[in-house]
């Protein structure tokens, strides 16, 4: 196994919520709440989750734009937070970022030459052959015409701008590229080009990618490993094939079930899932993945048996200011109310003050009280393939989830 190039240990990023005249901090938005990740050299780690799950915050912490509240970020085994200012600047050369929106990520008043050459200017580097030659080389690397170096961003299309952004990120020869939804704002046809470019660059330069996205299809295409985030925590992590084909967390399953199937014979089915006799779930619910590109909605994916639809989650994600106790997902979990444990535990006679929603859903007490650890749980489900410890899930009842119908 390759050595890790990036290690994140127990990373926490809280934003204080200030209130009152004295601007005292009264609470905190727990954007990232204890995340641990490992990224191996030359590999791609896909990070998926709903809007507001903390993916982008995590990416910003990793490139050094935000400072973590606690936890460690190790690049090549060196703790970033322990380094001096100069050392941190040096380290920033190793981790670079590709942004989501190619229309705001390039300064409209700078020419492409200035944009791509800026990393050299900031770090005072004079590449062999001069900056201009280095910029031309970079533009060629990302598939742009070096003669266009004097043009301004508004003269390029979205895909070309994204290539400029990639060229800028590559200027300092980084080891790690943090891609924050790099294709979400692009046309589907252009998405493919940019993804292929990223894959080519990985093969050519030996880059490691942290690929943040909410488009599960794109992540499946490019990622070797996948981590699923919910409310600032990782709920499931493992190799791409394991997470996609043998998802064990109910949230992951819900996400996967909502991926549109590119097959016109698949009809849109309002969810009627035979295994989901939820007592409170109404027919019209807020749909699961939030996405600007179209991978949205309760779209029924007809598996080989042709009888199941999408899993529809209720309501919005809870506020990260006040995340639910125990398992953060238990307020929306479709699985918990169906478990036999939920029936044996009596619901509290009166909901605790201030949390009227708490007693309304019948979920196992364990889910409300204990935070599930992110550990391998595949032992029971498939004993044959259980030896892999890289597939970890944060759900008390993960072992009971077997869903053969998820197709991407």
């Amino acid at each position: 196994m390759a050595e890790p190039v990036l290690e994140v240990r127990d990373l926490v990023k809280h934003y204080p919520v200030r209130n009152g005249l004295l601007r005292r901090s009264v609470s905190a938005v727990k954007a990232v709440d204890g995340v641990s990740l490992t990224l191996d050299r030359g590999r791609t780690l896909g990070l998926v989750g709903e809007s507001g799950s903390g993916k982008s915050t995590l990416a910003r912490v990793l490139v050094g734009v935000e400072t973590p509240t606690s936890g460690q970020v190790l690049v090549d085994g060196e703790d970033v937070s322990r380094l001096s200012r100069a050392g941190r600047k040096q380290l920033r050369r190793d981790v670079q970022m590709v942004f989501q929106d190619p229309y705001t990520s390039l300064n409209p008043r700078m020419s492409v030459n200035e944009i791509v050459g800026e990393p050299f200017a900031i770090h005072g580097i004079d590449p062999a052959g001069g900056r201009r030659a280095a910029v031309s080389e970079l533009l060629e690397l990302v598939g742009l015409d070096p003669d266009h170096a004097n043009r301004y961003p508004h003269q390029f299309s979205g895909g070309q701008r994204q290539r400029v952004g990639i060229a800028r990120a590559l200027a300092l020869r980084p080891k790690i590229l943090v891609c924050d939804e790099p294709v979400s704002a692009l046309d589907v046809s252009v998405q493919g080009q940019v993804i292929n470019l990223l894959e080519d660059l990985q093969a050519e330069l030996g880059l490691s990618y942290l690929f943040v996205a909410h488009d599960l299809g794109v992540v499946r295409h490019i990622a070797h490993d996948v981590a699923v985030m919910y409310l600032g925590r990782i709920v499931e992590q493992g190799a791409e094939a394991e997470v996609y084909d043998a998802a064990q967390h109910p949230y992951t399953q819900a996400l996967l079930s909502a991926v549109p199937v590119p097959d016109p014979s698949v009809r849109l089915v309002t969810s009627s899932r035979p295994v989901e006799p939820t007592p409170v779930a109404g027919p019209v619910e807020t749909r699961v993945p939030t996405s600007s590109t179209g991978s949205v909605g309760a779209i029924g994916s007809v598996g080989p048996t042709g009888s199941v639809g999408a899993i529809v989650l209720e309501g919005d994600p809870p506020s990260p200011v006040d995340p639910p106790s125990g398992c953060p997902f238990h307020t929306r979990c479709w699985l918990a109310p169906t478990l036999p444990e939920a029936r044996t535990d009596a619901a509290p006679a009166q909901p605790p003050a201030g949390r009227p929603d708490l007693g309304l859903r019948l979920v196992p007490t364990m889910c409300e009280t204990d935070v599930p650890a992110l550990v391998p749980r595949s032992a029971d489900t498939s004993p044959g393939a259980a030896s892999d410890v890289s597939h970890v899930v944060a759900c008390h009842f993960a072992r009971e989830l077997v869903d053969p119908r998820v197709e991407v």
Binding site: R60, V63, G64, V65, R88, K89, R92, R93, V95, Q96, M97, F99, Q100, D101, T104, S105, L106, N107, P108, R109, M110, S111, E118, P119, I122, H123, G143, L144, D145, H148, N150, R151, Y152, H154, Q155, F156, S157, G159, Q160, R163, G165, R168, L172, V190, Q193, N196, L197, D200
Partner: protein, 310 residues
Amino acid sequence: MSDAATPTPTVPRGSGASSSPVADAWRTLRRRPDTIAAAAVLVFFAVMAAFPRLFTDTSPRSCPIREARTAPQGWGGEHPLGTDALGCDVLATMVHGVRPSLLLAIVVVGVSLVIGVTLGLLAGYYLGWVDYLVSRTVEVFLVIPLLLAALLVLSLFKGVDLGAGTFDVILLPAVVLILFGWMPYARYVRAATLEAKNLDYVTAARSLGASDLRIMGRHVLPNAIGTVTALLPTSVAGVISAEAVLSFLGIGVRPPATSWGIQIEQGSQWVLGGSPHVLLAPLICLVATVLALVVLGDALRDALDPRLSS
């Protein structure tokens, strides 16, 4: 490499090979006749400020009261634009008033701009206590009436001999007007900075390790200054007319130097008294200057913004 290796430009450029932005800006500027006219007007007044003797031989200080309020006599006459209420030649007063007026306007707007932009940029970028300090200071200066402050400065400089050099005569009004003229720039720039600093290209620069100074200078300011440039031409007019009010209190341009502001102020008393020319002559000059500045400012903004140049 993928099939997109041959990008096509979204905006085809007629001029083919692109050159430096300055040359591009100049080319754009040249194609607009209104720009050339505006530039000509400003050059005309600049020459007038530098060499007033080219335009009149009469001294603005010889004021025979017998000839008060003479009507304009046209070119070739003794008083081409007539005389004012004290018998001073209007043309001579106007020509000799160009230098203090324009100098005052440039100094006041320039210094206010530097102070306002710097403070606004720092406040918007760093927020926290810097912003608190700057914002409260802006508010304090906004609530103090200009005339009250002018009287204060007047009493401070009472009895101080400032001399009669080119800058000395405008020192007092310049100090007062700068003190109370920088706040709009600070507020505009602060707001624009707040907007610009959260855009992705600023984050990108920060993730590259750019210093705060570089981010402010290269990324935030060029994109935040747009709103302020629209404000400048009218500020020039405001400064020139505000100086007239100050001169009424005795802290305007110091006599014996004259200015358009003083002339407009005095001329306005005789508009209905049969001598509108005393007001009209300097007023037309002021309006022409401001219009020229507006047109030039517009052209400059279009030329420097790569998105607007076609």
